[in-house]
């Protein structure tokens, strides 16, 4: 067969042909299941724009995004960091951004990586299915942007900024980790908003403007909304601080509550991504590797573009050693891709060791089936606990360290040997459990009827406390949103 392209320059016609060829293999042979794709070509400046708004196509305005942009731009212009080749958004249709400077080979790689790899993962992984709403997210962001802009007009930039600052400081504490949040559909969000505005307008009276300063008009009675859990009884302990403040803070006005809600919903939307970094990137990298090789096997890409692809692929999955100057933590691409390629190996050419460790998949043959099951039903922690093989631990030369704060040295507790495999694996899995890697902060009570003190505690995991300086800054933000004193306490976890 003649190759689809020989030049390194791309054009839309070639993009389309390449997309169709990739789609045929991805859906026909690998049987991937994806949202419809929408592929957009953007310039490097637009890529920087997208970076600085949490990789979303639209976002409300806040100075922290401007700071991020300035930082990224400085790094990029100085040549310290290259731009990502792509950004992909968990939405339906699934939007992928291609950088215009990519060569045709890179565009093909990116289409395979984002439009099929990530897309399949978004659509099938249980966390994304349960916790995010791919159809509604863009509408919701548009609503958030408009709402916050309107608040700025009405209440002044400073006030809006103050609330957003505080809400951002609590973003990590703005997710439900165990209980599933209600999922507002697009229509319901719009309908709700309309009702809310209508109600506000009805309840507004010109008279209130004539009140002397310091006297507040009577609060607008909340609109009747049977689906809204109305702040009746507050439930404590509550891990979702933003949710708690939104519902129960005595100091906030309705528009401020709505803003907390926006930040909280965003945080919740990103939560699955934080729990599946390794798997998500691993899945996309594995898919693009498989697809690009399939294209080459069919003669659809030339040898030179295969080499260009391999060059880029190997630098993406490069893992420097811990004592290397380039070490920046475990590379999720390397670990994820390594594990998935390893699963394929175990399924097709297992060693006796693999048969011992993975009797249910060793030699099974249909590796795609095993992988798809993995992509759908695991997150990083459970995936590592289940599928990290001794061979891969040896390849990465992993070793576990024990760190006690008041000792001057780390102790090597286990290494990649017979006695150590299980412990290294368990330790690594725990490292990827967002639930235990994040600080466990709970609101334990509030004296709503007396002095209105709010009680917050950090349940320490194995005695590790919070950093004092940042803790105090964040507590000040809680205090601002709560409006009254906040009592913070470090407590050992009872477990």
């Amino acid at each position: 067969m003649t190759p689809l392209f020989t030049e390194s320059e791309w054009d839309f016609g070639t993009l389309d042909r390449v997309y169709k060829a990739i789609e045929e293999i991805a859906l026909g042979e690998l049987k991937l299941d994806v949202y419809p794709n929408q592929i957009e070509v953007i310039s490097s400046e637009q890529m920087l724009d997208a970076y600085s708004s949490l990789a979303m196509p639209l976002m409300y305005n806040h100075w922290s995004f401007g700071k991020l942009f300035a930082r990224e731009e400085a790094m990029y212009r100085a040549g310290y960091s290259a731009l990502a080749y792509e950004i992909v958004i968990n939405s339906s249709p699934c939007i992928s951004y291609l950088l215009e400077e990519n060569s045709m080979t890179m565009q093909a790689l990116v289409i395979a990586h984002a439009a099929f790899g990530h897309n399949h993962f978004f659509k099938n992984n249980y966390l994304f299915r349960q916790w995010t709403n791919a159809e509604g997210i863009l509408d919701y962001l548009a609503f958030a942007k408009r709402y916050i802009a309107a608040c700025e007009d009405r209440h002044g930039r400073d006030d809006v900024e103050a609330v957003l600052d505080s809400a951002h400081a609590l973003m990590d504490q703005g997710v439900f980790r165990y209980r599933r949040p209600p999922r507002p559909s697009k229509e319901r969000v719009l309908e709700k908003r309309r009702k809310r505005v209508e109600h506000e307008e009805e309840a507004y009276s010109e008279l209130w403007r004539t009140l002397p300063a310091g006297i507040e008009p009577p609060a607008v009675s909340p609109a009747i909304d049977p689906e809204e859990d109305y702040p009746g009884e507050m439930k404590v302990p509550e891990e979702n601080i933003l949710y708690f403040l939104e519902k129960h803070s005595p100091a906030l006005k309705p528009w401020q509550r709505e803003m907390l809600r926006i930040v909280r919903n965003l945080s919740q939307y990103f939560y699955p991504q934080r729990q599946t970094k390794v798997m998500n990137e691993g899945c996309a990298t594995f898919v693009h590797y498989t697809l690009m090789n399939a294209l080459y096997d069919k003669g659809l890409i030339t040898e030179s573009s295969l080499l260009e692809f391999l060059h880029s692929h190997t630098s993406v999955v490069f893992q420097p050693d811990f004592d290397d100057r380039r070490y920046y933590g475990l590379n999720p691409y390397a670990l994820g891709y390594g594990m998935m390629a390893d699963i394929k190996r175990i399924c097709t050419t297992p060693t006796p060791e693999d048969r011992d460790w993975f009797p249910h998949i060793a030699g099974k043959g249909d590796w795609m089936d095993v992988l798809k099951d993995g992509w759908a039903n695991y997150r990083d922690e459970s995936f590592i606990e289940q599928f990290l093989s001794p061979k891969l631990m040896r390849d990465f030369r992993m070793f576990a360290l024990f760190d006690k704060a008041d000792e001057g040295a780390y102790k090597v507790s286990s290494i990649h040997n017979e006695t150590g495999y299980r412990r290294v694996r368990a330790s690594l899995a725990r490292q990827y459990d967002v639930g235990s890697a994040d600080a466990n902060i709970q609101i334990t009570g509030a004296n709503l009827h007396s002095d209105r003190k709010l009680f917050v505690e950090h349940r320490m995991n194995r005695g590790v406390p919070l950093q004092v300086q940042s803790r105090e800054l964040v507590c000040a933000h809680i205090e601002r949103l709560w409006g009254h004193e906040v009592i913070f306490e470090e407590v050992p976890n009872e477990e």
């Binding site: 100075w63 922290s64 401007g66 760190d403 290294v424 919070l466 940042s470 803790r471």
Partner: protein
């Protein structure tokens, strides 16, 4: 199903609103940084993009962070074991964590100290001007890029209807009509009259009828010809052409005179530097080419480079007139008044050897002021002295002497300053002039 969308042409600067919010938020830090950066940069470099490093104080984004160094215990896994067996110990690095290199990415809120980014020329100037408390009108005139104007540059065959050159167009049309023998209205009317006359004649002979037929044919032909050959044809149309040209500007030289004896400290020199920067900005806008000559003096004057001018120190007495001598000497040698506009800016703390002030005044009145477009003198005082010399009339010898010059020459400005905001009034006259001329 799949769509490819080309977004490259979408409007740029989507994050501009965020950038403005960020600059506003970090205002204090940015101001400090800009001022420091201006202090370290050359006078002529103001008004360029530059890198600014600010501390992250004020733009911190705190989050709850775990601090394993402060207490408790944990396990973690690293790749790349080469020599360790269980039970080995690895010394903790003094700062940072995780055995290897210290830096942990993305710990915003505590890890970052300094923050570097590029500010555009406009953003820098805004802050520079804010300190100097420049009036808004002046700010905008200073920020403008060198002005250009549209000048006539002949005639073209293409252009917009508003620029049609009627005379040329009609002339071309006329020539073409003559060359192609387009019958004029007058000729046509003549034929029609003849026809009328013949038709009215009695009796109608054969001869007359024949003439009528030919006349009718002639009229039809003439009418047809007038239709084919337009009164004005597109090829006749001519337009006035304009091209954009820079407004012719000349060159200027700016003499910076400064007393560098021991009494001029850091603060004084910094104020003086801003004074020179502002003058330079102004001159740069008005003249294509601006030379700067730095002359420093104690009891003796020298021409030096900028680095030495601002940063090296000399001991000795103070004789101001030596600097004026030097300036005259350089001016005669290199900057003929026919080719150069001459500006001078002098900064001093007001002390000079007794008797010298009178000498200075003589030189200024006789030799220097006739050459200069503008001469600005600032006396840098500290706040305490400023109170003592509240009145314009009191002051040291040099000040009083210069006041007499100022009375004689409208283009001589004097001012005492003790803070950046005092600088601009020195140039007030200068800016007033440009508002009229530009």
């Amino acid at each position: 199903m799949t769509q490819f969308i080309d977004r490259r042409l979408n409007p740029k600067g989507k994050s501009l609103a965020n950038r403005q919010r960020f600059l506003r938020r970090a205002r204090t830090q940015i101001r400090e940084a800009v001022q420091k950066s201006l202090k370290d940069s050359a006078v002529a470099d103001i008004g360029k993009n530059r890198k600014i490093k600010i501390s992250s104080r004020g733009t911190r984004e705190p989050r709850f962070r775990l601090d394993p160094k402060a207490g408790g215990e944990r396990d973690f896994v690293l790749p790349g074991n080469k020599e360790f067996s269980p039970g080995d110990e690895i010394k903790k690095p003094r700062s940072g964590e995780d055995g290897g290199r210290g830096k942990q990415a993305g710990d915003s809120g505590d890890g970052e100290d300094d923050f570097e980014f590029t500010m555009t020329q406009d953003e820098i100037l805004d802050i520079f001007f804010e300190d100097l408390e420049l009036p808004n009108l002046v700010r905008t005139t200073l920020k403008e890029t060198p002005s250009r104007t549209w000048r006539r540059s002949g005639i073209t065959t293409a252009g917009s209807p508003t620029q049609i050159n009627l005379i040329r167009t009609m002339r071309h049309a006329f020539g073409r009509r003559i060359a192609l023998k387009r019958p004029s209205i007058a000729n046509l009317n003549l034929l029609v009259e003849q026809l009328d006359a013949l038709e009215r004649e009695e009796p109608q002979t054969d001869e007359i009828r024949a003439r009528i037929v030919t006349l009718r044919e002639d009229i039809a032909k003439a009418n047809a010809k007038r239709k084919w050959i337009g009164f004005i044809d597109p090829i006749d149309v001519r337009y006035n052409a304009f091209t954009e040209q820079p407004i012719p500007t000349s060159q200027a030289v700016m003499f910076c005179l400064m007393d560098v004896s021991g009494s001029m400290g850091e603060r004084e020199k910094d104020l003086a530097k801003r004074f020179y920067m502002l003058l330079h900005l102004f001159l740069k806008r008005r003249y294509e080419r601006v030379d700067i000559v730095f002359i420093r003096h104690t009891h003796d004057a020298q021409e030096v480079d900028e680095q030495e001018f601002f940063y090296s120190r000399q001991s000795g007495g103070t004789i101001v007139s030596t600097a004026l001598d030097k300036m005259l000497e350089i001016q005669k040698e290199r900057y003929a008044t026919a080719d150069w506009n001459i500006y001078a800016a002098q900064a001093s703390d007001g002390y000079t050897q007794s008797g010298d002030a009178r000498h200075c005044v003589e030189m200024l009145n006789a030799d220097i002021m006739p050459l200069c477009q503008y001469y600005a003198y600032i006396e840098i005082l500290d706040e305490r002295e400023m109170e003592v010399f509240a009145s314009e009339d009191s002051g040291a010898e040099l000040w009083r002497a210069y006041r007499t010059v100022a009375d004689l020459w409208p283009n001589f400005a004097t001012k005492r300053i003790s803070k950046p905001a005092d600088i601009f009034p020195v140039f007030r006259e200068l800016f007033k002039k440009t508002e009229v001329t530009s």
